[in-house]
């Protein structure tokens, strides 16, 4: 029966004029995605970023590997925002789907857990949304991170505010009890102390917190000049609204990373004005990319055409994570893990996202930190100087209009 099926398939190939050799197998890339659950919004954005890469590579005919053109195929499963499920899915992707390469789940915590599995099986995994150095300091050979370390961001922020708001002396820090927010808050507090700021409040809150009024009342009583809050976008929206409810304002209010996404401003409207944030990427950076898209702005235009809005650093990093893998496979001319891993470790990738160089720990060590602020509803780059779109505006509205 099997012989008959093979003969039939071969006959069909001949009949339609196709050569079996030309119909090369697709190159599978496994991606656990948080399409439902707490991280669904971020998971869906990551998928959009991955789709941009796969579609762009396939549009140019795929990758030339071992003398044949290989189209990219993204193999995805929803891990429902649960770390345990993400681990199971990575195991399934490797053992059942036999993917030779992986993209990581969303966030530092899930990436750290999934990275252990990738390392055990020796499958290269690129993380698009993990910036905490403790994810990468496990001496893994197979884990690579697109986002540069938190510390580069917090140092850029502290240096900027020190220069542009020299009267600010007291900082209050409020962070979600999760690996990335806790990590970046700790780095911010350390950077601020080093720069001579007085950290008057430094607390974390638990996931699923539905009320910040008492923490914000405490902060109000300390009269900080700089309030720094980090957590899920929904938390930051609630914090900003409750600040207004309590009449809490400060010369500088920084939130990470919610204001980088358009939904922050749409959910707080006027209260978004003068809130500052930071980012790993912005389309105005306009880096050159010879592999796909051409430039950062061209990437953003393509993204806008496909999804009807501008790309944020999250989708861009997702696209770049898949792109670095594709470039490494093409240059290795092989899907062999060792060959690809070697290129990943040695090469500096020139992409629309910016130069990507996976340092000693596997995390991108190219610093391109951006300080940003929402002004009249628009997210503007304040620093670095070469990308500057506006000057810092001091003070946020104490209450809505």
């Amino acid at each position: 029966m099997n012989r008959f099926k093979s003969a039939l398939a071969a006959s069909l190939c001949i009949a339609i004029g196709a050569s079996p050799a030309l119909a090369a197998e697709t190159l599978k890339i496994g991606a656990p995605l948080a399409l439902t659950g707490r991280l669904a919004d971020a998971g869906q954005k990551s998928k959009q970023g991955y789709d941009m890469c796969v579609e762009a590579v396939n549009e140019k005919g795929g990758l030339e590997v071992g003398g044949e053109k290989r189209m990219l195929e993204l193999v995805t499963y929803d891990y429902q925002s649960e770390t345990n499920k993400a681990i199971e899915i990575v195991q399934r992707l490797v053992n059942v789907d036999k993917v030779p390469f992986l993209l990581s789940p969303y966030g530092s915590g899930d990436t750290k857990a999934a990275g252990v599995v990738a390392e055990r099986y020796g499958v290269p995994m690129v993380a698009a949304a993990a910036a905490t150095p403790s994810v990468f300091d496990q001496k893994f050979k197979n884990l690579f991170g697109i986002l540069f370390p938190n510390k580069m961001i917090t140092e850029a922020e502290v240096a900027y505010y020190k220069q542009h708001a020299p009267d600010a002396k007291k900082v209050a820090v409020l962070a979600l009890n999760s690996l990335y927010p806790k990590g970046i808050a700790a780095d911010l507090a350390a950077s601020a102390k080093d720069a001579g700021y007085d950290v008057v409040f430094d607390q974390i809150y638990s996931p699923n917190t539905t009320d910040f009024s008492n923490a914000l009342t405490q902060i109000k009583s300390l009269e900080p000049d700089w309030i720094y809050a980090t957590g899920y976008t929904e938390d930051l929206i609630l914090i900003r609204r409750q600040m207004a409810d309590l009449g809490l304002s400060a010369p500088i209010v920084t939130m990470t990373a919610g204001p980088a996404y358009p939904e922050f401003a749409s959910n707080v409207q006027q209260l978004a004005d003068n809130v500052t944030t930071n980012s790993w990427w912005h389309q105005n950076a306009n880096y050159k990319d010879d592999f796909i898209f051409g430039t950062s702005q061209a990437y953003n235009e393509a993204f806008n055409k496909r999804f009807g809005r501008d790309a944020t650093y999250l989708e861009a990093a997702a696209t770049a994570s898949c792109e670095t893998l594709a470039i490494a496979v093409a240059e290795a001319n092989s899907t062999d893990g060792d060959a690809v891993r070697k290129i990943m470790h040695e090469k500096t990738f020139q992409t629309f996202y910016g130069p990507i160089h996976f340092g000693e720990t596997g995390q991108n060590d190219y610093n391109a930190a951006l300080v940003m602020q929402i002004q009249d509803g628009e997210l503007l780059v304040l620093a670095p100087e070469e990308l500057k779109q506006g000057a810092l505006k001091i003070g946020v509205p104490p209450a809505g209009n």
């Binding site: 439902t36 669904a40 009890n177 699923n208 009320d211 008492n214 009449g247 939904e263 707080v268 209450a399």
Partner: protein, 285 residues
């Protein structure tokens, strides 16, 4: 400062009570731990948000519409599905509503997406002797109190309410008295859903709404019902206020990361020391 902390706790507690009233009613009358409750709150919130933002309907029209829509939804779900297993052990109905919750939540994700949305209003805040109370949160508390009073009136002064209480006390005896049990169950579930719809509209004014918030709302409703007394509607108000104040005090005493833990510890303490809850009737647990 102490006054501000107390007001913060009371207002948050008022919102919690608003979330839990419908949940308590369904638990008390049907003996169903309605795992669908959180998603019904979210559904109500989206009816309000879409009504106001996409169809330009004023909030005071959208909110009653959300209540009516949720009542119809709750009535249909109970009559068509839950009623088939309502006499089964509580685990069966819990599993069924859990399954329904997954379906509704995923449908919401599919149709409205995961990106948070809000109803933007600015009702301002009341400032009295340096203590600020946002009007929208006072409104949420008033919604909870109004719903509870209306429910109290319905249960004690209407034919339907007397029938619901009769079914709650002894459904076999109630059936012998000529009360149509399936219809009373469906109406009760519908009223619970209506209250979830009203709570959803209030939440949409305060919280960024997204389908994944349903689990958070359900968790709060559950703790409140245990605190106040299982199935006790006035207990939902007591439980909500106690939880709001306890979480606030926990945040101050141990730091914000312990606020939710304090709520769970309090729930465990009540289960062990006061199984009928702070305002429940003994023997009804």
């Amino acid at each position: 400062m102490l006054g501000q902390y107390l007001v913060n706790g009371l207002l948050t507690g008022g919102l919690y009570a608003c979330l839990a009233v419908g949940f308590a009613l369904v638990w008390g009358v049907l003996n169903v731990v309605n795992m669908l409750h959180g998603s019904m709150v979210i559904l109500g919130a989206y009816v309000c948000i879409i009504g106001v933002q996409q169809f330009g309907v004023p909030l005071y029209v959208a909110a009653p519409l959300a209540c009516i829509a949720l009542f119809a939804f709750g009535y249909a779900v109970q009559r068509g599905l839950i009623n088939r297993v309502v006499a089964q052990p509580i685990l069966i109905t819990l599993t069924l509503t859990f399954g329904l919750d997954l379906i509704v939540n995923n449908l919401l994700l599919y149709f409205v997406g995961a990106t948070p949305r809000s109803l933007i209003t600015n009702f301002g805040a009341v400032d009295l002797f340096g203590v600020r109370a946002p009007v929208v949160r006072i409104g949420g508390m008033l919604v909870a109190i109004t719903l509870t009073l209306l429910l109290y009136w319905l249960l004690h002064h209407s034919k339907l309410g007397r029938a619901i209480i009769a079914v709650r006390m002894d459904r076999h005896a109630a059936a012998l008295m000529g009360i149509r049990i399936p219809q009373i169950y469906a109406l009760t579930f519908g009223i619970g859903a209506l209250m979830a719809g009203a709570a959803g509209c209030a939440m949409a004014l305060i919280y960024p709404t997204a389908p994944m918030m349903s689990g958070v709302f359900l968790g709060k409703a559950f703790i409140i019902c245990v605190l106040g007394g299982l199935g006790s509607v006035p207990g939902a108000i007591v439980g909500g206020l106690v939880l709001g104040i306890a979480e606030g005090a926990g945040s101050l005493a141990f730091g914000p990361q312990w606020a939710t833990t304090v709520g769970f510890v309090l729930m465990m303490a009540v289960i062990i020391l006061l199984p009928s809850g702070l305002a429940g009737r003994k023997g009804f647990e």
